[in-house]
């Protein structure tokens, strides 16, 4: 456990021309115990989440829960409408029990499951990334929407020096200092490794 003292954190941007040296630099940074805040890229880079230490997404679990919700809602709805509240005779099909008429209900159950899973996932994603109407872009450097790749670091004094060296020796085009901020003593404990 580290001691609780206020720390200065430096914001560093490592700008790259290509994703290959960027990935290499990320591996080296992580190997020397430096935490990568984020990476910005004009296009998706496959397998980068593992390299920069992003934990596995839990959206699949959400999708499953949303899907099951959709299945249940559809079943409940159709049971109430078609069996319980007002049994309709459609084409002479049995209508006094849900299971006897189940083939007719499968398409709706399926559609409702897909609907809830897809919309639930999309909404969760938007909310989790805070991509809501009127949200401000969090991009630190607009060039990353065109042809540049950027590693964002927020580090203490000694780590910043080490990181700078690693970035430069791994082909970073620019290493930009974007100011610093002070982390109050109360917050530094949890960050100490």
């Amino acid at each position: 456990m580290g001691s609780a003292v206020a720390k200065t954190k430096h914001i560093i941007h490592g700008v790259f021309n290509d994703e290959v040296p960027l990935l290499e630099a990320c591996k080296k940074l992580r190997a020397s115990g430096i935490r990568i805040k984020d990476v910005f890229s004009p296009m998706p880079i496959h397998g980068i989440d593992g390299v920069i230490g992003v934990p596995r997404t839990r959206i699949a679990i959400c999708a499953f829960i949303y899907g099951i919700t959709g299945t249940s809602l559809a079943t409940l709805m159709m049971w109430y409408m078609m069996i319980s509240d007002w049994p309709n005779d459609i084409g002479g099909k049995p209508n006094w029990a849900y299971y006897l008429n189940v083939p007719a209900f499968i398409p709706i159950t399926f559609e409702s499951t897909v609907f809830c899973a897809a919309h639930g996932m999309a909404l969760t994603y938007f909310l989790r990334c805070w991509l809501v109407p009127g949200a401000k872009a969090k991009n630190p450097d607009p060039r990353t929407t065109d042809d540049k790749f950027l590693i964002l670091l927020e580090l203490t004094d000694e780590q910043a020096k080490k990181a700078e060296e690693i970035l430069k020796s791994n082909g970073a085009e620019e290493v930009n200092h974007k100011g610093s901020y002070i982390v109050p003593a109360a917050y530094t404990l949890e960050e100490a490794h």
Partner: protein, 411 residues
């Protein structure tokens, strides 16, 4: 990379295993023909079940290798790069196609010679009003059968075999070149595949009407072709996946990434759903519209094949859905192999369920050693042919423009 492991040699154990399977299979086929007696009361001819089993085995493995050829062509036509490292495995599975075609042809010829009664419409005098075998419904359809049917059958066989053979030949020819600057063989295959896709799209449907749906000559379903197609596709995917994992276990295919196998797992999951979708759509529409001449198809199955019907549905739908849903399962080799094997048998049972009610009908007494024995024979032959084909060419392709992409494939 270990260069020795780029050329596959069939392990003697595997050869032994395939011969044992074929031996057991052959023995049970002979026994099956001896023991399969007729039943006048149920209008059941002797040997019908035996012939139906031989038909199911021939058709299942022929369709499987055909679907593998389709899968290979699909990668070319879509210019997909991910599957380049496993192309030789897919090619090896297509090597069974001529064997499958030969078996089918044999069955058709024997049927035409009235040695078996799989096809009702092949009966003598079926369209002759003065004959005791006259059937009004079939007589109205007879223009589609007879000579026209034979012309189509021969065309499918020649077409499929020609395209598959050409695709594999071009792929091997590219290997022989030191460097293929224009990717000439690749582009030849892309063009060839585009045409093959067109041919396959039409013939996979029409051939399943002609060869499989015509067993129940009175009955028809417009969805039938796709239903058969999805079944053969999933079987091919399982066969390819199991082969890849088996080769990896033997120390071959080191260059195939985990992501490629993960993708095969995704295919397995997705096409299981495609099959379910088509199976259910066909069933639901017939159940809903309740037209006697359509419903009869499922009535026979419901009355005499209920256990098989539910088994097929659960093994081929619920089982892969639950088991292959998570990412970790699709990346676990043992899991994929285990589930693949079960689905593979499930789809063989599906073919049994498609064939038997139309031939054996209500004389069916449930699954028995006959089905499994016959399956063993064809499986043994399939393993023998495919492993031998695998050893004919290096496992790594050469001069393929997407090879590098495939070697670095990650998802």
């Amino acid at each position: 990379m270990n260069t020795e492991k780029l050329n596959f040699t069939v392990p003697s154990k595997t050869k032994m295993f395939s011969f044992i399977l074929m031996g057991i299979g052959l023995l049970s086929i002979i026994l099956m023909f001896v023991m399969d007696k007729g039943n006048e009361e149920l209008h059941y001819h002797a040997h019908t079940r035996a012939w139906s089993n031989v038909f199911a085995g021939s058709f299942f493995f022929m369709a499987l290798s055909l679907a593998a050829a389709f899968f290979l062509g699909l990668q070319y036509a879509a210019e997909a790069g991910w599957a380049t490292t496993i192309k030789r495995v897919i090619e090896a599975v297509t090597a069974y196609l001529p064997w499958g075609i030969a078996f089918m042809l044999l069955i058709f010829i024997l049927g035409q010679l009235h040695i078996h009664h799989i096809y009702h419409w092949m009966t003598e005098g079926i369209a002759d009003p003065n004959s005791p075998n006259y059937d009004e419904v079939i007589a109205a359809k007879i223009g589609y059968f007879g000579i026209f049917w034979w012309v189509r059958t021969i065309l499918y066989m020649i077409g499929w075999w020609w395209f598959t053979n050409k695709l594999v030949k071009n792929s091997r020819a590219a290997d022989a070149l030191e460097i293929d600057t224009n990717n000439s063989y690749h582009w030849k295959n892309v063009k060839l595949s585009a045409w093959f896709m067109v041919l396959f799209a039409v013939t996979s449907s029409t051939s399943s009407w002609d060869w499989v749906m015509s067993i129940d000559t009175h009955w028809f379903s417009t969805l039938f072709g796709w239903y058969i197609f999805s079944g053969m596709w999933i079987s091919a995917i399982v066969a390819i996946t199991v082969l890849i994992i088996w080769l990896k276990k033997l120390g071959y295919l080191e260059f195939v990434t985990e992501s490629t196998i993960h993708d095969m797992g995704k295919w397995m999951f997705a096409i299981s759903f495609l099959w379910t979708y088509l199976y259910f759509s066909q069933f639901m529409l017939i159940w809903y519209s309740d037209i006697p001449e359509e419903v009869i198809y499922f009535q026979t199955r419901w009355e005499s094949y209920k256990a098989l019907m539910w088994t097929v549905f659960f093994v081929n739908f619920a089982f892969p859905m639950v088991m292959l849903m998570s990412r970790d399962c699709k990346r676990n080799f043992f899991f994929l192999m285990f589930i693949g094997t079960i689905i593979f048998i499930g789809h063989y049972l599906d073919v049994i369920m498609i064939v038997m009610p139309g031939t054996v009908g209500h004389a069916w007494t449930g699954l028995s050693w006959m089905e499994f024995g016959c399956f063993a024979f064809f499986l043994g032959l399939f393993i023998f042919v495919v492993t031998r084909a695998l050893s004919k060419a290096p496992l790594m392709v050469k001069n393929h423009p997407y090879l590098d992409e495939s070697l670095h494939h990650s998802t």
